[in-house]
């Protein structure tokens, strides 16, 4: 009887340890950064240099977000040689990163930098991004040094996005 109990425990330990290894392995496979706490990501809003940062919050399940992603890809390509940095912060759910976000990023061959933010305590950080943000996505923040613009909805076309960014160049 004790043997059975011990075997069960060993089996459980084995399953737990392999799943941890698997989880780590899959994290290594992710072609982008995964951040669990907003405070560990806050630095992307605090760069004080002459680069214009274009930070978009999106998710694979968000229709309007996916629709405007090509605009950000185009921006990234067109301004490659200038001081423009495009960051695509995905709010895909933690458990869907492997199943949805990684395949999506690979399939679309996204060139702009993707970061996955999985901090689910939204109320604790939404205002830190912008107090005008109600919580719906997509939104985009563009900033350079102290100059900053908050765009609280999707862009209807590439030109609108480019014109906003041009104000910073």
């Amino acid at each position: 009887m004790q043997d059975t109990a011990r075997n069960t425990i060993i089996a459980i330990l084995f399953i737990v340890s392999t799943s941890v290894v698997f989880a780590q392995a899959s994290q290594e496979k992710a072609p982008f950064l995964i951040v669990e706490k907003y405070d560990d990501l806050a630095y992307i809003f605090e760069q004080n240099n002459d680069t214009t940062y274009v930070i978009n919050f999106w998710a694979t399940w968000c229709g309007p977000c996916v629709k405007e992603l090509p605009y950000f890809e185009t921006l990234h390509k067109q301004y490659k040689d200038q001081k423009v940095k495009v960051l695509l912060v995905s709010l895909d759910f933690k458990r869907q990163i492997e199943r949805k976000l990684i395949p999506f990023v690979k399939k679309r061959q996204l060139q702009a930098e993707v970061i996955a933010l999985t901090d689910g305590d939204y109320n604790s950080w939404i205002d830190k991004v912008d107090t005008d943000w109600g919580g719906a996505i997509p939104i985009t923040v563009v900033y350079k040094g102290n100059k900053r613009k908050f765009h609280g909805e999707e862009f209807s076309n590439y030109e609108d996005l480019e014109n906003l960014v041009k104000q910073f160049l």
């Binding site: 998710a59 759910f93 933690k94 689910g120 939204y122 109320n123 943000w133 919580g135 719906a136």
Partner: protein, 208 residues
């Protein structure tokens, strides 16, 4: 002298326009505002207003957990079971859930009244699941996303707005249940704190 008066009036008018412009930026209901009434179609095909709603004991409710939600937003879907639990826990205390689907169904066919009825049946919604067909109610409340909660007291005054709890992704990891805490505050004769929270959600799909 007359010119001076004219100029003063002109300045006042300009100032007035500016003030109107700035105040209109911050649209929607705030905590303490009286919520507008409405009459909307339910999944049973009948029209209901808040005045028609009774609590689990058949009494006039002490408050309403009004929620803008839908079938198609992953965040709203993650909260469906919790919405049922919330209603089951709160309606006996006098605070039933009332759900309103605000999306344009041409953009989101998955949010049609028929699809809503099916979801309500599958999930066992024991509360109204209304459709804002004309898209007039959600703008009057200032709702911008699904899911979004407005906790009203019996006088239809907004006492709390925002998220249901602090963890959309994992019900078992919730630390603070904002709505339950807010109801407990009302029951204790206090004002909810926090009275406003924010959460990620899907933008409400507006007819083009």
């Amino acid at each position: 002298m007359r010119a001076l008066i004219k100029i003063s009036f002109l300045l006042l008018a300009v100032a007035g326009i500016f003030m109107a412009a700035t105040s209109s930026v911050d649209f929607g209901l705030k905590v303490g505002d009286k919520a507008p009434s409405f009459k909307l179609k339910n999944v049973d095909g009948k029209y209901y207003s808040l005045e028609d709603v009774k609590d689990a004991n058949g009494e006039k409710p002490k408050g309403y957990i009004l929620t803008f939600t839908c079938n198609t937003c992953p965040y709203a879907v993650m909260y469906e079971d919790r919405l049922v639990e919330l209603h089951n826990a709160m309606a006996p205390k006098g605070y039933p859930v009332v759900a309103i689907m605000p999306n344009d169904t041409n953009i989101k066919p998955g949010d049609s009244l028929e699809a809503m009825g099916k979801r309500a049946e599958d999930k066992g919604f024991d509360f109204l699941y209304l459709i804002d067909e004309k898209q007039e109610v959600f703008p009057a409340y200032g709702a911008s996303r699904t899911p979004e909660i407005y906790l009203l007291d019996s006088d239809m005054v907004v006492r709390y707005t925002g998220a249901i709890d602090d963890n959309a992704q994992d019900a078992s990891a919730v630390k603070t249940n904002y709505v339950m805490d807010a109801v407990a505050s009302l029951e204790a004769g206090k004002s909810p704190d926090p009275a406003k929270t924010k959460a990620i959600g899907c933008s409400i799909k507006v007819k083009r």
